[in-house]
């Protein structure tokens, strides 16, 4: 265990994988200078420009080239800079990467990782802050990972790289600089297992990515009000650990899903719906309002699903149903 930032853990994991496997290469804009969040700092110096490729501003080609390369034995890691720019490459990700193995009847695989920095950060407004994890979970063929703390950052990336499937890796921008206790960041995670962040008995609070901190903060606030919330970090959104969530809800009887993304038709709806279907327990959700993401800090503060809002939603939810 050592203290390390989320971004440093990803750098170490990526470098270790690239040393291990010469088929891995990284492609995206400005990577030679480290990338927007310095996720790639030093990598071009170590691995050269053929394995850390500075691409043109050509998102369709970045994604499509990765698809073709993955089909032919390479292991591409795509950097999308901001999740939002993936919207310039959706055909390549959804119509091609996700479906090709199936359409070809299993003749080919498309082992690629698509890193998408996600979420609010530095008041970047409507086109640089979106959370669209619900979209990718809805697409057959894709694996969707979303580490929620520095200890998971490296292992999730390593696991994504070793997977033979196309993997969308959602990295919350606000987590990149966050430090924490980290084991071996290069040890691949087991995909599909949730993490118990904090045990509790009155309510199960499910979150992922940047919202895990907020959910943990909300549990603190709730504890002060005598409410014991169990916090679960989902970590992997597809597949997701329904067994862990159902087991927790079986104990607490109440589920609240907290997400940074728009609440309507978000991934939280899937969790709430499945738990309601399976258990009949009371369920609730909290997410962003159905508005684009505003620039002004005053509006962003009103928009954000923070610990206080989660706690308030939880308290109101329990008050109504207990």
């Amino acid at each position: 265990m050592s203290r390390m930032s989320f971004v440093e853990a990803t750098r170490q994991a990526l470098a270790a994988e690239m040393r291990r496997d010469g088929r891995i290469f990284v492609l995206g804009e400005d990577l030679g200078r480290g990338g927007v969040f310095q996720q790639y700092r030093g990598l071009q110096a170590e691995f050269g420009p053929a394995r850390v490729v500075d691409t043109p501003i050509s998102e369709s080609a970045i994604m499509g080239v990765a698809v073709g390369a993955a089909m032919c034995g390479a292991r591409p890691v795509v950097e999308m800079r901001y999740l939002d720019f993936t919207l310039c490459a959706v055909d390549e990700l959804v119509n091609q990467a996700a479906k090709l193995r199936y359409m070809l009847g299993g003749q080919a695989r498309v082992p690629m990782v698509v890193r998408q920095p996600i979420g609010l950060w530095a008041n970047c407004a409507a086109q640089h802050s979106q959370s669209l994890e619900a979209w990718w979970v809805h697409v057959p063929g894709l694996v969707v990972l979303c580490p929620g703390d520095p200890a998971d950052a490296g292992p999730m990336l390593a696991a994504a790289i070793r997977a033979d499937d196309p993997v969308v890796l959602l990295e919350y921008k606000e987590l990149f600089p966050v430090e924490g206790e980290v084991g071996d960041p290069t040890l691949p995670a087991e995909i599909g297992r949730a993490r118990l962040v904090r045990p509790g008995s009155d309510l199960t609070l499910v979150a992922w990515g940047g919202s895990v901190r907020e959910a943990a903060g909300a549990a603190e606030l709730l504890a002060a009000r005598g409410i014991s919330a169990e916090v679960i970090d989902l970590r992997s959104l597809w597949p997701w650990d329904s067994a862990a969530v159902l087991a927790s809800v079986a104990r607490t009887g109440h589920l609240l899903v907290a997400q940074e993304a728009t609440e309507v038709a978000g991934f939280g709806a899937e969790i709430a719906a499945l738990v309601a279907e399976e258990t009949g327990a009371r369920v609730a959700r909290i997410g962003a309002p159905r508005t684009p993401i505003p620039f002004s800090p005053a509006l962003e503060a009103a928009y954000r699903v923070d610990a206080a809002r989660i706690a308030a939603r939880a308290a109101a939810f329990l008050a109504r149903h207990r």
Partner: protein, 330 residues
Amino acid sequence: MATQIGRERLLAHFRTMARIRAFEETAERLYNEKRIPGFVHLSSGQEAIPAGVCANLAAEDRLTSTHRGHGHTIARGGDIQAMMLELFGRQGGSCGGKGGSMHIADMRIGMLGANGVVAAGLPIAVGAAHAAKLAGEPRVVACFFGDGAVNRGPFLESLNWAAVHRLPVLFVCEDNRWSATTPTRLTTAGPGIAARAEALGVPACAVDGNDVAAVDYLAGELVASVRAGGGPRLLLAATYRWSGHTSADAGAYRDPAEVARAKTDDPLRRAARALGGLGVAAEELAAIESDVAAELAHAVQLAERAPFPDPAALYTDVQDIGAPTARVPA
């Protein structure tokens, strides 16, 4: 046919083209008789391009195709029986019945797939070449696409990428003058497709795409220079689509005279005439055509009797991690 070409090579082209033609005519008939599901996009009239290009590919080379992919697959040596099974959606089809005509593929021969999205094959081809270059493998990738595809953004992004990295791609534009039911010239500005390629750093050559010897010759030159590390090239091959855009399309929007005129320039008949000049007897060609007809008839017979995939196959080949679980049957 001014280009010099040997008798055996031209005969091989003739056989390839005859197989493509027979496959397309069979598919069209099967569709009209409602014996196959889905639609098929036919390449009758365009056979000389895949025949001439694929003859220049080596075993380790690869190719990407379009929605109109039968000819590319056959010219590359694809298994006609497996293709026919795929058109019928049966077990043993090239893609196990999951893809159908529009996604026909055969990885054993480096055929990375037909594609239902116009221009989607371009970045995939470039990626295949990128991977080959990265791995130090001496492979060329042939990337087929239509004249309509040059109006999609991935055309620009792919050619630019290939040129920046000097990748071993031969782009092959099959210019049949039509984008589905719209004449491509009405939606396409500028001096032409070759100029677009050159402006993106990809040297281009035009060829009569109904002259298989000319296509073969030029593709040979271009593949050689691509293989030698000269970077990507584009071959612009003029041709014509004899049938409608899909098997469901009668093509009524086209001037019948235009179609009739185009049909007089039949790549198979041109090759046959040239073969005659090289001393090949008409009987020999007729024998090839009847061989091919028998091959197709046999393929259809087997395909039509083949079992459909087990419904459980719905759930396989999706992904390793988080694979779907089968629904309880209703």
